[in-house]
Amino acid sequence: MSMRKVAVIGAGMTKFVRRAQETGKELSWQATHMALESCELTMDDIEAVCLGTAPDAFDGVHMNGEYLSDGAGAWRKPYMRSYVGGGTGVFVPIQGWYHVASGMFDLVLVVAEEKMSSYFPHAQGAFLTIFDHTTERPLKPNLLWIFALEMNRYMQTYGISKEDIAQVAVKNKRNAADHPSALLGDADITVEDVLNSEVLAWPVNRLDVSPVSDGAVALVLAAEHVAKRLTDKPVWIEGVGWNLDTAYWTNRDLAYPRYVEYAARMAYDMAGIKEPRKQINIVEPYDPFDYKELHHLEGLLLADRGQAPQMVVDGITQRDGDMPVCPSGGLLGVGNPIAAAGLMKVAEIFWQLRGEAGARQVPGQPKRGLAQAWGDLMQVGTVVIMGR
């Protein structure tokens, strides 16, 4: 039995903004409409819909997936919402992949939406209830604090400086200056700007972290025979992987994301990739914090442990480097509407591989790209590998 091949044939995304005037439903509809237009389909052609959105607490809507369903085009269609915290954005195309690869459906719409600005006064408040109700919540931890712990551990283990890590923020925010949907693109930002921004939770400064944002992204997935009929530039999903570690994050070594490695190995196996560093041309690792891009490059086996910062210093991860990383501008530059930000990375690989990334286009006609997301309590890795 050979597995059914699945292609991405269309993509659309809204602007990522701090406070969208539109409801979450409307954002979902906008992205859906653009994705369908990009491949000249209508909702009538779509057989099933997959949706990704992060905690219901942002919108303050119980069963938020049900609420968003008609905005995402799921009226009287098979519809499901998948959920792996921050990893959801790269999981939802995996959900679309198994809808098609299973043989159940030939044309599936994948939508990721996030509206964080509804949470008042700040979306960070929604994260106070993600911690274990018995062992952790009484300590009143904040999400920024635990990521600061992880960043510190990463720096201490390998002797990495804040200056080297800040270069990731500079690269991504500069890349984002070329992205028409970006919230925080800045062509002139410097390492000093990042280091001099206010400290949120040492060693995390404000410009080390991605912004709270609203936005939506949508993709259209097709089975092989349909994709070949609809487009002469299909982008194939060659491998997918996901992996969830224990909820007891305090018991693991935060210096290395083992769950990301396991997810990557699953995807590499499926894609038949033996030497990822040679066979992956573009990478969109999850970068809600600048250190996370480095951490994830190591977990993805694209850099040796503790060596990812040197790749940034050497310029390898620049858009015109040997291995462009976050040519979109990433979450640090384009913005971080959580689930939508993950799917934005998959859309970026799609546009890059088709040569449709405009001013962001990576030179050299890349053949294969990888998008990855991460989430929960520093706990889940999701990976999609695409090629043309």
Partner: protein, 383 residues
């Protein structure tokens, strides 16, 4: 693509109004342990992917999927959560196996409803925040309106709905897992307190705690591991409009869409002929009737009458909710669909004890996500 997909293990725990001695993790652990033992699998060695169904607000924890892997033996495995009903989770496992990438997948659903101090408030937060919530409509009021519309549209009577309660609560007395069994007369049900006219309190399922785990396998693995695999012949799911203002209140289109998809896979053209028994949504008694019609098992407006005639009784020609349904077993929140599926599996295996049906080969399970959704799923099983 794999050919057929089977259920090779089932486990459950709880099914009680309150479970103060167990946390949700312990409920899940108990159910998982029983399911893995039943299937003869070791989760760390044999199970390749895991699916949980859960909603954050039911759990009182944001990003609840964080807390799913440990008690299921799923640490450092491909695991994800579906924000849906248990049958959505089952359909997900079905698709995962059908891709050929996974040969054994576990599905888990649970309810710890007794932990929720403010259920009416939580459920009301599922309404559209812009168009519906400002009207401050109570959840059961929406169900009462829908029931009224269904009664008018289908010429069904309150007596016929009450008959569903009598039947299901009576069935529940034979089910050791059902806490809400009772021997009621039609008069007992009809004279009960009203909840939202024409809906009565006794026609509404009360909440219960519980957890259910199913182990799903490819044909090859199922034949190797199990001497009585229960085959999943078809899975379907569908959504109608989530908004109250623009949906068809009389008919359950979400059931029709889901059933069409499942029947197509199972090759079923005439459901009444093909299906031996069914376990369907009865969170409110009228839902059982409305659903049986939307499933195409009975014609529009017929379900009430055939229920009165005893066709859906335990010894009728198409028994419905022999387990006691949600009226007898309790509303298990996101696990409702798995409770329905579990009963179908037990019946098809011949493991249903004193409520065992004779000569059953094909059973149908169906679920609804509750007010205010128009979302549900259908699964068809055969032995």
């Amino acid at each position: 693509m794999s050919d057929r997909v089977a259920i090779i293990g089932v486990g459950w725990s709880g099914y009680r109004p309150i479970t103060p001695e167990l946390s949700y993790k312990e409920l899940m652990y108990e159910a998982a342990l029983r399911a893995y033992n039943d299937a003869g699998v070791d989760p760390r060695r044999d199970i390749e992917s895991f699916v949980t169904v859960a909603e954050d607000f039911h759990e009182g924890t944001s990003i609840f999927d964080e807390y799913t892997p440990d008690q299921l033996g799923a640490v450092l495995k491909p695991m994800h959560t579906i924000s849906g009903d248990g049958l959505h989770g089952l359909a997900t496992a079905f698709m995962l196996v059908k891709t050929g990438q996974f040969s054994i997948v576990a599905v888990e659903g649970h309810s710890k409803a007794s932990n929720i101090l403010s259920m009416p408030g939580v459920v009301a937060y599922a309404q559209d925040p812009v168009l519906n919530r400002p009207l401050r409509i109570n959840t059961h009021f929406i169900a009462g309106m829908e029931m009224n519309r269904y009664l008018v549209d289908s010429d069904t009577t309150q007596q016929q709905c009450a008959q569903v309660v009598v039947k299901n609560k009576r069935n529940a007395l034979d089910n050791p897992s059902a806490p809400y069994g009772a021997k009621l007369t039609l008069e007992d049900v009809l004279s009960g307190p009203p909840l939202s006219w024409p809906l009565g309190v006794r026609e509404t399922a009360e909440h219960a705690d519980g957890a259910i785990v199913l182990v799903i396998a490819s044909e090859e693995k199922a034949l190797a591991l199990s001497d009585r695999p229960i085959w999943i012949l078809g899975c379907g799911w569908s959504n109608d409009s989530p908004g109250l203002e623009n949906r068809d209140w009389g008919q359950a289109h979400y059931v029709k869409g889901a059933a069409q998809l499942a029947y197509r896979q199972a090759g079923i053209n005439s459901p009444f002929q093909a299906i031996d028994f069914a376990e369907v949504d009865d969170l409110y008694a009228y839902k059982e009737l409305q659903t049986l019609e939307a499933l195409g098992i009975f014609g529009h407006g017929e379900a009430g009458q055939v229920t009165e005639e005893g066709l859906t009784h335990k010894d009728g020609s198409l028994p419905v909710n022999v387990s006691g349904g949600s009226l007898g077993m309790g509303n298990l929140l996101d696990a409702n669909g798995l409770a329905r599926a579990l009963e179908v599996v037990l019946q098809l295996r011949g493991n249903a004890g004193s409520r065992q049906l004779e000569d059953v080969n094909i059973g149908l399970a169906q679920s609804w996500r509750g007010v205010p959704t128009a979302s549900g799923a259908v699964a068809i099983f055969g032995n």
